[in-house]
Amino acid sequence: MPLADYQRSGDVQGSYAIETHDLTKHYDTFEAVRGLSIKVPRGSITGFLGQNGAGKSTTIKMLLGMMKPTRGSGRVLDVDILDAGKSIDARRRLAYVSEDKRLYDYMTVRQIIDFTKSFYPTWKTDIEQQLLDEFRLPLDRPTKKLSKGMRTQTALLLALARGAELLILDEPTEGLDPVVTEKILELVVGAAADGTTVFFSSHQIAEVEQIADRILLIDRGQLVLDTSPELIAENFRRIRGIYDLPLPEGALALDGVERVAVDGRMVSVIASRNIDGIAHRMAHLSSGPSVEVLPLSLKEIVLESLKRD
């Protein structure tokens, strides 16, 4: 989808690259994923955040057909994830880079490129060549002799040269130096500019904030945040006030209040909307000179969302 003809995402046919409905996975007694319902619009760059063990990898595995859900359903590129036959066609149009980024030990870089290339009719040899040159990958070296950085670059080359409609990347920049990281983000952005949907999980919140237009946060198997950096910058605020006496019960049970934290005389509220209303009420009750209204970074919101009550 050339950017000059950009339409609002949601207007294109099959407007979601990934959709799940009540997706659930139990291992014996452990509930890895609980009732996950997400929608990833086509053409978006969606960041998938969550702590280790929160259920990100399990979710991705279910989307790729590597694991069978205990309950619920999902569609990837308009194909039911439970339909093994049709899923093969969907996989021809997507690329997945796992967290491991391991490659076949017994193949050289050239061999694994040739091997992967053979499965994708939409393979882009120009991108393959461009990335080979940029990354300076040694074609005849066995992959087991590559450094971690070069292995990641090879894995990304194999994904980006496919001409895929959807990229699913698990921690794509983990362990990479800042220069290479920026390069990879640049490539991801370039792919998105060509219309590819990018769904990537990451612990680097700053990166997600930089390039994502959608953010999904998963905690203990459940979706706890579904927003965008834009919404956060426009709507989320931290409002702080000073109070000599403890606030009456329910004083801050207002529309938009997400979290209330008390530290000595300082009461801090995280709000997702109705900022003026909340600030007014807090100023009214406050014994201090003023009420502060501060913006919130994605990192702060994620950390707040993950706090245990």
Partner: protein, 260 residues
């Protein structure tokens, strides 16, 4: 390209087995004269040593000599070890190594992966038998000994048909046992145990009742005299082959239905 992957994956193992096979076959053919001379000397110098049942015949019957040392002993063991190691692998092993995600996200079915791997293994085992046949025939000629080709064909065919069950069991085992090296250890351990238990039966004790499943090594070797069709233990072969198919089906089912 899946076949190319299968080949690259098993290449080192195959070459090792091939070299070992050809070395063993070359030794017992080219070295037949030398071995015989050692035996002659031992008979004279150590009359007190007890001779194993096959000894006297092996001294003067060359095809029997080959049968004993190659088909019944060394080559058979190489073949079986190779069959077990070949069967280990696939997506299950890749899961331990970290590449399962990459493989399973390719636009290919799990069944295709399984079939290709099995087929590559079968072809490589066939080539191994062929290599044994040709090496023995060729080296025998070089050593000036006559070796009936039918003998070689029969025994290699028997080993292949009877031994497929090892490959199958291994293909199946790898789908149930996790880890990069554990399945190999379990498989080789099981085979080691089998041969240890079976050893007394290998050379002539009657095989009855419950010992029949353990008689595979003897089945694969056949008797030293096999020249006619009736000498083949057809029932044993049928049972072994059926077991092979059953193991393969189970392994295939498991890879289709399990989570990775």
């Amino acid at each position: 390209m899946l076949f190319r992957k299968g080949w690259l994956e098993t290449r080192s193992l195959f070459v090792t087995a091939l070299v070992a096979t050809m070395a063993v076959c070359a030794f017992w053919t080219l070295g037949h004269e030398w071995v015989n001379q050692q035996w002659q000397r031992d008979l004279i110098e150590h009359p007190e040593w007890k001779n194993p049942p096959w000894f006297l015949r092996a001294m003067h019957d060359y095809p029997f000599f080959i049968w004993h040392f190659v088909y019944a002993e060394m080559f058979q063991k190489i073949w079986v070890i190779f069959a077990v190691l070949l069967g280990i692998g696939g997506v299950s092993r890749e899961a331990a190594h970290g590449t399962a995600g990459f493989t399973l996200s390719l636009p290919i079915s799990r069944v295709a992966l399984f079939h290709v791997r099995a087929l590559v293994a079968v072809v490589e085992l066939l080539i191994l038998n062929l290599a044994a046949l040709l090496t023995i025939a060729g080296c025998s000629r070089v050593a000036g000994l006559s070796y009936p080709l039918l003998h070689g064909v029969t025994h290699n065919a028997l080993m292949f048909a009877g031994g497929l069950v090892f490959l199958s069991a291994s293909l199946c085992l790898t789908e149930f046992v996790e880890g990069e090296y554990t399945p190999a250890l379990v498989g080789l351990g099981a085979v080691g145990l089998l041969y240890f238990v079976m050893q007394p039966y290998a050379d002539g004790l009657p095989v009855t009742g419950v010992a029949i499943p353990f008689a595979i090594p003897r089945l694969m070797a056949g008797s030293g005299d096999i020249a006619r069709i009736e000498d083949v233990h057809w029932l044993g072969l049928a049972v072994s082959f059926t077991a092979a198919v059953a193991f393969a089906a189970l392994g295939r089912y498991r890879t289709l239905t399990r989570d990775y």
